[in-house]
């Protein structure tokens, strides 16, 4: 006998995830829906009747679908992508019972075996609007269990009910059949033969689903052409007869729901806590002030609070590398382990502090209900660039790091919105670009000039880079949304849920799951890329060095030995495949004002943008790392001269280089995460191509126009 399946369905914001966590405990694991990057959780539990599998179905207000994502819920319920669930537990918000019952009506109509879980009963009681469980059960004709995922109330009873219903499925079915208008019944007769269904009630339900869901511009898949054609014909003739098909179906269902008279209204309409809080949170200027404060805190957290943890991670891996090197024989294998593998694992883990922090804060804001308010507050502004209000936080996070920011786009429901956001936010000036700008500004821009007479040019340049990156990212979103990812405009419909105390276990769990999926999936790619990049800058290890270094280093006094070491590193790097590649691309980057040394730096920067500095450091033979070396590097770059006299790296080269860094997709981790989140290689390739092309063109224009105007 196969393991029975219990599916958890329900509206968004009903605490379905907490119910799932309570029910499955630690047995849950995350799986992806076939072919798409929508995750779902699966767990196994033991009931009195034996073991069952519990699956989580995406939250939905209705089974009716327009997008592929919405279709997933319906397909999971009907078992179209796998096994059909034996029982569906519909998690319902007890404080908003009636609104939640529409999807219950749909499932009952389809003949599914249903158990209703009235969640948030504790909150409903506190608000004086707790439904009468026995009455709800009588009205719906299926088992109803009062639950509170927060306190654990009702879970024993839920498990017992599930065992009972699994043994006797009729208990969970009520054979609900709505009396639709005669004309609609006639339409359904036409559709019945065209749908694949296990039972007559299911055929009826799927016909109704098709009639409501299939339109000229839906994004649904796996629908037969015959069914589409018939639905189109039926809708057309209904319209010609002045009938409103949508109303005929939906209003009939609602009439039944309203007739149950289950709505619980407190005798006196009390002003709820949520309303009182919103008077402040959504106040024209107090609310705006709070919004700015919360967003600044979020930004500050990502930008600076994560810094100690990032530093610590780097130090641990440096220490680990040194320790391994100290106890292993010198050679290719040790270098591979230290610089390739340990360095690579370090370059994956270094993202963890920001990812954990962002998802903790995001989960916290989402769970307490503030995130919907953010979407509400910024919607007008985000609409101007064709994005949903929920895209604001991922965009803002892009200023810290594109990797967690891309992962944060999961809060967006539509795939198109997610893609537009993911493809434009890497243009936001992330924190890894900052050290590059700092070096370039210090090394290539004049120190004692001022803009408008009082702003030091170096400050102005930094400010300009931030404004520039914001403008380009927002423009990119607007352009991508109107061209590559052009889609029907979906009007905003945003639920504004009541405020709730954030549930730390839920927040912590989500945070951990995100981190885990980053480490196991994107992390692997990042590690691999690090090793490839290391090899590029490490090989070949031929003997054709100018001197025999090893003997000299052994013989030299310590301070001389260090200098010889870095000289050796420089010579090796200059002979590496990476350097050859750098020289190879010189003709391509020369029109931007870059020489092969910058070319090598650009290749090294793929590991992470700030690596540009250490790679350049090695090219110049001053080792990598600390501040003193940073100043040394700056002076070296300043000192570089062209054969004919002037500075090789003029301010114009510096501006061109910064523009290039601002625009190019110079970061393999971003590309790896984008691959993971978009599910295909297509979008990272697109991102890389368009950003590189943009960067090249912009730097080319700046350098060539600048040179022509005599700034070279």
């Amino acid at each position: 006998m196969t393991t029975p399946i219990v599916a958890l369905a329900g509206n968004p914001n009903t605490g379905k995830t907490s119910v799932f966590n309570r029910l499955t405990g630690s047995s849950a694991r995350v799986v992806n829906y076939p072919g798409v990057t929508v995750e779902r959780e699966v767990g196994r539990i033991r009931l009195a009747s034996g073991e069952v599998e519990v699956i989580d179905i995406p939250g939905a207000y209705s089974l009716t679908a327009r997008s592929h994502e919405e279709q997933l819920a319906m397909r999971a319920v009907f078992g179209l992508d796998g096994e059909r669930p034996n029982v569906i537990v519909i998690v319902v918000d007890a404080t908003q019972l009636v609104r939640n019952l529409y999807i219950v009506a749909q499932l009952l109509e389809a003949g599914h075996c249903v158990v209703v879980g009235l969640n948030l009963m504790d909150a409903a009681r506190a608000a004086g609007r707790a439904p009468d469980v026995a009455r709800v059960q009588k009205a719906l004709g299926v088992p109803v269990v009062a639950l509170s995922a927060r306190t654990g109330e009702g879970f024993d009873s839920l498990r017992a009910t599930l065992a009972k219903v699994l043994a006797e499925p009729e208990l969970g079915q009520n054979r609900l059949r709505f009396d639709y208008p005669a004309a609609l019944e006639a339409d359904l007769e036409e559709l019945l033969p065209l749908v694949d269904a296990a039972s007559p009630s299911e055929a009826r339900a799927l016909s109704l689903w098709s009639l409501l869901s299939l339109t000229e511009e839906d994004e649904l898949t796996g629908i037969s052409q015959a069914l589409r054609t018939e639905v189109r014909a039926l809708r057309k003739s209904a319209a010609a007869a002045g009938r409103d098909l949508d109303s005929e179906i939906i209003a009939t269902r609602w009439r039944w729901l309203d007739g149950l008279r289950l709505a619980v209204q407190p005798a006196v309409r009390v002003v709820s806590m949520t309303e009182r809080i919103d008077r402040f949170v959504l106040h024209p200027w107090l609310g705006t002030l709070l919004f700015v404060l919360v967003m600044s805190a979020l930004f500050q957290a990502l930008f600076s609070w994560s810094e100690p943890a990032i530093r610590a991670t780097e130090h641990v891996f440096e220490w680990l590398g040194d320790a391994v090197r100290a106890y292993s024989p010198a050679g290719v294998l040790t270098d591979l382990i230290v610089d390739g593998v340990i360095g690579g694992v370090g370059s994956v883990l270094v993202f963890l502090p920001q990812i954990l922090l962002l998802f903790f804060l995001l989960g916290f804001l989402e769970d307490c209900g503030y995130m919907s308010r953010v979407a509400f507050l910024v919607d007008r502004g985000m609409r101007a660039i064709g994005l949903h209000g929920r895209a604001f936080v991922p965009m803002l996070s892009g200023f810290a790091c594109a990797v967690p920011a891309i992962m944060a786009t999961r809060t967006l429901e539509r795939r198109r919105d997610r893609l537009v956001t993911m493809l434009s936010l890497p243009l936001m000036s992330c924190s890894a670009r900052l050290p590059v700008y700092t070096l370039v500004i210090a090394a290539m821009l004049p120190r004692d000039r001022h803009v408008l007479g009082f702003i030091p040019i170096q400050v102005a340049a930094m400010l300009f880079m931030y404004v520039f990156s914001t403008v380009t990212a927002l423009s990119a979103a607007a352009i991508i949304g109107r061209t590559v990812l052009k889609g029907p405009r979906i009007p905003l419909l945003l639920e504004v849920p009541p405020y709730r105390l954030p549930r730390l276990p839920v927040v912590g769990r989500q945070m951990w799951l995100r981190a885990k999926s980053f480490l196991t999936e994107a992390g692997r790619v990042i590690l691999l890329c690090t090793i490839v990049l290391w090899a590029l800058l490490y090989f070949p290890r031929g003997p054709e060095l100018s001197k025999v270094y090893s003997a000299r280093i052994d013989a030299a006094p310590p301070e001389r030995a260090a200098a010889l070491q870095s000289e050796l590193a420089t010579e090796r790097l200059r002979a590496s495949y990476g350097a050859r590649l750098g020289k190879g691309i010189e003709p391509v980057i020369a029109p931007l004002g870059f020489d092969w040394k910058i070319g090598v730096g650009l290749i090294g920067a793929f590991a992470a943008r700030e690596v540009f500095i250490s790679t350049l450091g090695v090219v110049y033979g001053i080792g990598q790392g600390d501040d003193a070396n940073g100043r040394l590097l700056r002076d070296k770059i300043r000192a570089e001269r062209r054969p004919d006299g002037p500075h090789r790296y003029s301010p114009l080269v510096g501006i061109s280089l910064m523009i290039f860094f601002a625009l190019s997709a110079q970061c393999m981790s971003t590309l790896a995460v984008l691959r993971r989140e978009s599910g295909t290689l297509r979008w990272p390739l697109f991102l890389f191509t368009y950003m590189t092309a943009l960067a090249w063109l912009a730097s080319f224009t700046v350098y060539q126009v600048g040179t022509a105007l005599g700034f070279g």
Partner: protein, 90 residues
């Protein structure tokens, strides 16, 4: 006839009809935005859009452009319609 975008804030009004693009209209209907149902416009975002409303004890945000497609009516008109409906069914 008035629409929801013109409704006074904080006072109940009643839906007369929901118009507009089919998929979005269908979504609203499924959430219970049906003729005769009470709605309260709670307010508007600081930037002038979207609106926040309460319907059937739940709160939603929709933009003004879409609110304009929801026509509303006064309490008296609803009562008249209900009486007519009762007479017809009797």
């Amino acid at each position: 006839m008035e629409n929801l975008a013109q409704a006074p804030h904080g006072k109940p009004v009643w839906i007369a009809a929901v118009g507009g693009d089919s998929a979005y209209r269908r979504r609203l209907l499924e959430l219970g935005f049906l003729p005769g149902v009470e709605v309260i416009v709670l307010g508007v975002a600081p930037l002038g859009d979207p609106l926040q409303l309460e319907i059937r004890g739940c709160r939603f945000s929709i933009r003004k452009a879409e609110a304009e497609l929801i026509s509303i009516t006064s309490a008296a008109a609803i009562e008249r319609a209900e009486v007519a409906e009762l007479k017809r069914s009797a």
